[in-house]
């Protein structure tokens, strides 16, 4: 099916985009289009106007600055994949990117578009939750930051105002003795998650967990935080039993639905397993444990 016809605007600066968003009636933002184009085609979305942000060069960046890893709205999945910075220091990001869709979609789709889509099956929302990330929303009154936990309201629904766009997603730069990871269960290459878990651990000088972040994919109506598991981990030394317990708590806090890919109890069990694996990798990458690799 063809998309309904719309007017196509291509602003070349954030300020022009914002004034368009403000003046137009119910505009829709187009970034990578990898989720929006199918929605327009199925007429799940029928906007009169589309504000295409692909020409705003100032939004095309991925760098560390002022204590944050900053991901501009035009940083594509493929830019994360190609980044040495990510490869060296951001385990969860490096784990996630090859698991998102396929190479062609990663060339167009963006991390910011993915969180703006607020798909409970989207992978990046969980990673940002694990890292206590936030997004920068820019509107007529300027910029405001929205903690990632306050962004997702419902499936495909965020707390953004209609005349705001997300210009940036960001996470604090990892400290020493910090590690992170993402594990995802899917049926085949390129698929959305049946369940996914992102974990980040920060250890103190003593080898105890100072801070833990856990985000979950596809097991509730939005990406969600496993806060009970996070709390259980605080102040403890890493060990398999502790991680197993955290996995159980995460599973309890998840709320998956039975569907053609598996029933809810199976998915809960998967959350348990994925949590343990992600925590194990995170602790290993933080340099506080060494795990035996099976031959």
């Amino acid at each position: 099916m063809k998309a309904a016809n719309f007017e196509h605007h291509e602003p070349t600066s954030v300020s022009k985009a914002v004034s368009l968003l403000e003046s137009l009636e119910e505009p829709t933002i187009l970034s990578g289009g990898q989720s929006l184009v199918p929605m327009l085609r199925f007429r799940l979305a029928r906007p009169d106007t589309v504000v295409d942000i692909n020409g705003i060069d100032e939004l095309d960046y991925l760098h560390e600055e002022g204590g944050y890893l900053k991901i501009g709205a035009l940083a594509r999945h493929a830019d994360v994949e190609d980044s040495e910075l990510i490869e060296e220091r951001y385990g969860s990001f490096a784990d996630t990117v090859p698991l998102v869709a396929d190479p062609q979609i990663r060339n167009r789709g963006t991390i910011v578009g993915s969180v703006a889509q607020a798909d409970p099956k989207g992978d990046w929302g969980s990673v940002l939750i694990a890292h206590d990330g936030e997004v920068v929303a820019t509107g007529p009154d300027g910029e405001r930051t929205v903690p990632i936990d306050e962004l997702f309201l419902l499936p495909y629904d965020t707390s953004l105002d209609e005349d705001e766009l997300i210009t940036e997603a960001r996470v604090p730069i990892p400290v020493e003795r910090e590690g992170s990871a993402y594990h995802k269960l899917k049926r085949k290459t390129g698929d959305y998650a049946m369940a996914g878990v992102a974990a980040r651990l920060i250890f103190d000088d003593d080898g105890r967990i100072e801070d833990a972040g856990i985000g979950m994919t596809a097991v509730d109506i939005t990406n969600v935080r496993a806060s009970d598991a996070e709390e259980r981990l605080g102040g403890e030394r890493p060990d398999p039993e502790l991680f197993a317990e955290a996995g159980e708590l995460a599973a309890e806090q998840s709320n998956p639905e039975s569907d053609e890919h598996g029933d809810a109890s199976y998915k809960e069990r998967m959350v348990e397993v994925l949590t343990q694996r992600a925590l194990g990798d995170a602790a290993e990458r933080a340099g506080v444990i060494k795990r035996r690799v099976s031959p």
Partner: protein, 223 residues
């Protein structure tokens, strides 16, 4: 509301203009407006990869991009393969699919070829896992993929073996490819280039226009 606009694409080396509505997808512009039906539509939702083309050298799914968004870009479709400097009638990838039985019904093939081309441009010597990753966004109902992987391996081998004389390894920005490096001491390789629509081009981004316009090349094609 009929709002159309003219867009200009450089398709397979030739500039083409067409009028499009904003909702027109790139794949429809390519197939219907430019009459290049080698690019296929399979799923229409971004899953199958049959519509894969290169936009400014990157593989994308042309059913997930509006034509207007490609305005000013270079687009390469499967029809452009025979005109590449490394092609001798067929491109080594096309030859590979023929030699290694990389297709049955052929529906997925144009997309596979474009995904394979993008891979080899970036990584001339991929291992099997890298090939499978590169085509992971392309579905095939027929082959089981094994022969597609072999076809791409065939092309990688053939391209590596191609002497610079074929234009297979054109030195760009002083970065001589492996084949050219070996013979650098023997002076410049004969340079053939190729013709698209009567115009000489060597495949390099800033092609000088060929022997007729640049004395530097007279030691090549005209030897």
């Amino acid at each position: 509301m009929t709002n159309t606009r003219e867009i200009t694409l450089t398709v397979n080396g030739t500039e083409r203009s067409t009028e499009v509505e904003p909702r027109r997808l790139l794949v429809h512009a390519i197939r219907e407006d430019l009459d290049l039906t080698g690019t296929h539509i399979g799923c229409d939702t971004g899953n199958c990869g049959a519509c894969t083309v290169l936009v400014d050298g990157e593989p994308i799914k042309s059913c997930l991009m509006f034509a207007a968004q490609a305005d000013g870009s270079e687009v390469m479709t499967v029809e452009g393969m025979e005109d590449l400097p490394e092609s001798d009638g067929l491109h080594p990838l096309q030859e590979g699919f023929h030699e290694e039985h990389g297709l049955q019904c052929g529906y997925c093939t144009p997309g596979m070829l474009m995904a394979g081309k993008a891979l080899l441009d970036e990584n001339p010597d991929p291992d099997e896992a890298e090939i499978r990753e590169a085509i992971s966004g392309n579905l095939c109902r027929c082959t089981g993929y094994q022969n597609i992987v072999k076809s791409i391996e065939y092309a990688a081998d053939k391209l590596a073996a191609q002497p610079a004389a074929d234009g297979g390894t054109v030195a760009i920005d002083g970065d001589a490819g492996p084949a050219a490096a070996g013979s650098a001491a023997d002076g410049p390789e004969p340079f053939e280039g190729y013709e698209v629509d009567g115009e000489f081009t060597c495949g390099a981004e800033n092609c000088c226009g060929g022997p007729a316009t640049d004395a530097e090349h007279t030691g090549g094609d005209n030897v």
